[in-house]
């Protein structure tokens, strides 16, 4: 079985993001970029499935400009067998990515696609469900545990009420949650080996996918900074201050 894993290049989770002064986006100049943390978890799960003999090949895929090859190399160093870059310089929307992944699934004959439950830059959470719908296959989202057996995936999901376990027939799409696993560290010798692993580049056009334009971002805005607190002397002053602000 082949597993396809999506990897998105995003501003590192721990970086304090700054909105550009004109509100057109977020400043990424000189900012640390990393693999979307959920995608790292997705890849870790795929690697564990391969190591457990449940899959033969793990392919990492990223859509974007050449800079995302860096994240694909990270995926290869973590242990993926090969990588594919869907090359485009356009702004990507979830539907475009889902369409591109679908083409690759068909081309590669993948039976399982594991994706992050969301990308931390846009928090859309759309690619996995869209791909499942386009593909006409089941989806199991927000996985915190995955067991593959007899052509089925038993997936435990984190839902509001607790944990829910569902079973889906393969092929299927799984999106992963934070607690599924702890991704491994990348070994330096494996980074060296990763250089020799195949990284194919295919353009959106070549896949026959047109970039969707159904979403339009109007502007970005930073959250309002929290106002500084004041120290009150006693309960009476506290009440007075709250009244002053119309909070009581």
């Amino acid at each position: 079985m082949k597993i396809l894993v999506g990897i998105k290049r995003v501003v590192d989770y721990n970086v304090r993001v700054r909105v550009l002064p004109d509100g057109s986006g977020v400043d990424t100049d000189g900012v640390k970029m990393s693999v979307n943390p959920f995608d790292e978890i997705a890849l870790e799960e795929a690697l564990r499935l391969r190591e457990a003999g449940k899959a033969e090949e793990v392919i990492v895929v990223s859509a974007g400009g050449d800079e995302c090859q860096q994240q694909l190399r990270t995926g290869l160093a973590m242990g993926a067998d090969r990588a594919i870059q869907v090359k485009t310089d356009q702004q990507l929307q979830p539907l475009t990515v889902a369409n591109a992944f679908l083409k690759l699934v068909e081309r590669e004959g993948a039976e399982l696609v594991i994706l992050g439950k969301q990308a931390i830059d846009d928090d859309n959470s759309q690619t996995a469900p869209m791909l499942a719908a386009l593909w006409g296959r089941p989806q199991a989202t927000f996985a915190s545990k995955v067991v593959l057996e007899d052509g089925k995936a038993s997936v435990t999901r984190e839902v509001d009420a607790g944990l829910e376990t569902i079973e889906v027939d393969l092929p299927a799409v799984i999106s992963v949650d934070l607690r599924l696993n702890e991704p491994r560290f990348v070994k330096l010798p494996d980074i060296m080996k990763a250089k020799r692993k195949p990284l194919d580049v295919v353009s959106l056009d070549e896949l026959g996918v047109a970039a969707a334009g159904n979403l339009e971002v109007s502007h970005f805005e930073a959250p309002k900074p929290r106002e500084k607190g004041i120290m009150v002397e006693d309960a009476a002053q506290l009440v007075a201050e709250l009244k002053n602000r119309g909070l009581l």
Partner: protein, 463 residues
């Protein structure tokens, strides 16, 4: 009039407490040292209140113990009995920031981590960093000249202090250096107070220099075969990478930190030594340089394996293996040493130390880790279950004696960054000459003629 009455008269608003729980908590620090109950604990709100406290202490011949975050490891903030502890908990304002000078003026009770945070908010960086930064105070950092994991690039607390206001043991308020970059006007008293462990006076304000934030970085954790290789790796990495930290730990340290925090092994196989190093990594070229370094260390047999962070989160995860050590063994009440020698002498030092330990104390569990890039080694010795506390202490003092003799032979220091405090006072003479100690006592006498400032610290109490 006694102290309480004197200060109540001079400074009616000042909070002074004799509540037993506060006497208990504020009379000790992170060292396991048992002192004696203080007379009272004072919580001044301003430099002027501190001055009044010192004047009252002088008048009534009451010794004072300055107390910061109480994370000290040498008993510097431990009360020996009968002193008034001066806690700076209420003086934690982070005040004037000057973007042109790139300095920030803070009260002594400001927590190290909140100063780091403040610097980040200004787009700058306060580089003094170590595991206890969430509790330690700037005043305590200055009094101990705290170091930590970024000394390699940014130096010690001493290198960050542009100015310091102190109240001396005479009750004078001195404004030392006033934030100047250049000031060739005689003795720089500021530097006398840095590292003085509260024995000359009390720090009531500090002006700290901030620096540019470091560029994006990565952390490598390497498996290293022996101590000579650790130094070879250090040299090799330093020649091609911009290192901001270079730390080491042994297999016992790795064992304890993993056990305490349930951490997975960072590598497939265990190794006798590990290096954790952080370096600037701002793109392909830096990454390639790091890989090339690793390859050449691998070829020479210095390292056998290694991992490198791929995200800021992994940077934190890898640092945990180093930063968690001290706390991981804290419940076991280890006997701690904090030694330094010149960097070039580290391998010789460690191999002789190893010889000494295996000859005399083969059964002891000893953790060796530290800031190897600064020549600073921490030894933590754990008590075997079958050895009683008293016997353990005696044996450790004996080990210390031998360690300090060895350190002295190699021209090192008995206290690299934790201070002399009470615990190392008996061994001051292994690092400082008699003439030096006499000069130091003379200096103390000038600032603290009545001997009320943290007596029994640095210099042993007579008798």
């Amino acid at each position: 009039m006694n102290f309480a009455a004197t200060i109540a008269k001079a400074c009616p608003g000042l909070k002074l407490t004799t509540e037993p729980s506060v006497l208990e908590s504020h009379g000790r620090d992170w060292s396991d040292l048992e002192g004696g109950a203080p007379l009272a604990v004072a919580f001044p709100n301003s430099g002027e209140e501190v001055r009044q406290l010192v004047l009252a202490a002088r008048q009534t011949a009451t010794p004072l113990v300055p107390s910061g975050g109480r994370t000290g490891l040498s008993g510097g903030a431990v009360s020996l009995g009968g002193e008034v502890v001066v806690s700076f908990e209420r003086m934690r304002r982070i005040g004037d920031y000057d973007p042109v000078d790139r300095t920030v003026t803070v009260e002594p009770g400001a927590i190290t981590q909140s100063v780091q945070q403040f610097a980040l908010e200004q787009g700058l960086y306060y580089p003094v960093s170590f595991a206890s930064e969430g509790s330690s105070h700037i005043g305590g950092n200055i009094a101990t000249n705290a170091g930590g994991i970024r000394v390699l690039r940014y130096g010690l607390t001493r290198d960050r202090v542009a100015g310091v206001k102190v109240v001396t043991g005479r009750g004078d308020l001195l404004d030392c250096n006033r934030g100047l970059v250049k000031n060739a006007s005689g003795y720089d008293l500021r530097h006398l107070f840095i590292g003085s462990e509260g024995t000359l006076g009390l720090v009531v304000e500090a002006t700290l220099r901030l620096v540019d934030p470091p560029p994006p970085s990565r952390v490598m954790l390497l498996a290293v075969q022996d101590m000579n290789s650790v130094m070879n790796v250090f040299r090799r990495l330093q020649s091609s990478l911009a290192l901001s930290a270079f730390e080491f730990l042994d297999d016992r340290s790795m064992f304890h930190v993993r056990r305490a925090y349930q951490l997975p092994g960072p590598l497939e196989e265990d190794s006798p030594w590990y290096v954790i190093t952080e370096f600037d990594c701002d793109g392909e070229a830096d990454e390639q340089a790091a890989l090339a370094c690793f390859e050449s260390c691998l070829e020479r047999g210095w390292v056998s394996d290694g991992v490198v962070s791929q995200s800021e989160r992994q940077i934190a995860e890898l640092w945990r293996y180093r930063e968690g050590i001290a706390e991981s063994v804290a419940p076991l009440a280890p006997y701690k040493n904090d030694l330094s020698v010149r960097i070039s002498r580290v391998p010789e030092f460690l191999s002789r130390l190893q010889g000494l330990l295996s000859e005399h104390y083969p059964a002891y569990d000893v953790l060796r880790y530290g800031h190897i890039g600064d020549g600073n080694i921490h030894l933590n010795i754990l008590r075997p279950e079958h050895v009683s506390r008293q016997e353990f202490k005696d044996r450790c003092e004996d080990i210390s004696q031998k360690c300090y003799e060895l350190t002295a032979q190699l021209g090192g220091s008995a206290s690299a960054e934790h201070g002399i405090g009470i615990i190392k006072a008996p061994w001051l003479g292994t690092t400082r000459s008699e003439a030096e100690i006499e000069m130091m006592r003379g200096i103390k006498n000038v600032f603290d003629p009545d001997g009320i400032m943290n007596p029994g610290k640095i210099f042993e109490r007579p008798g």
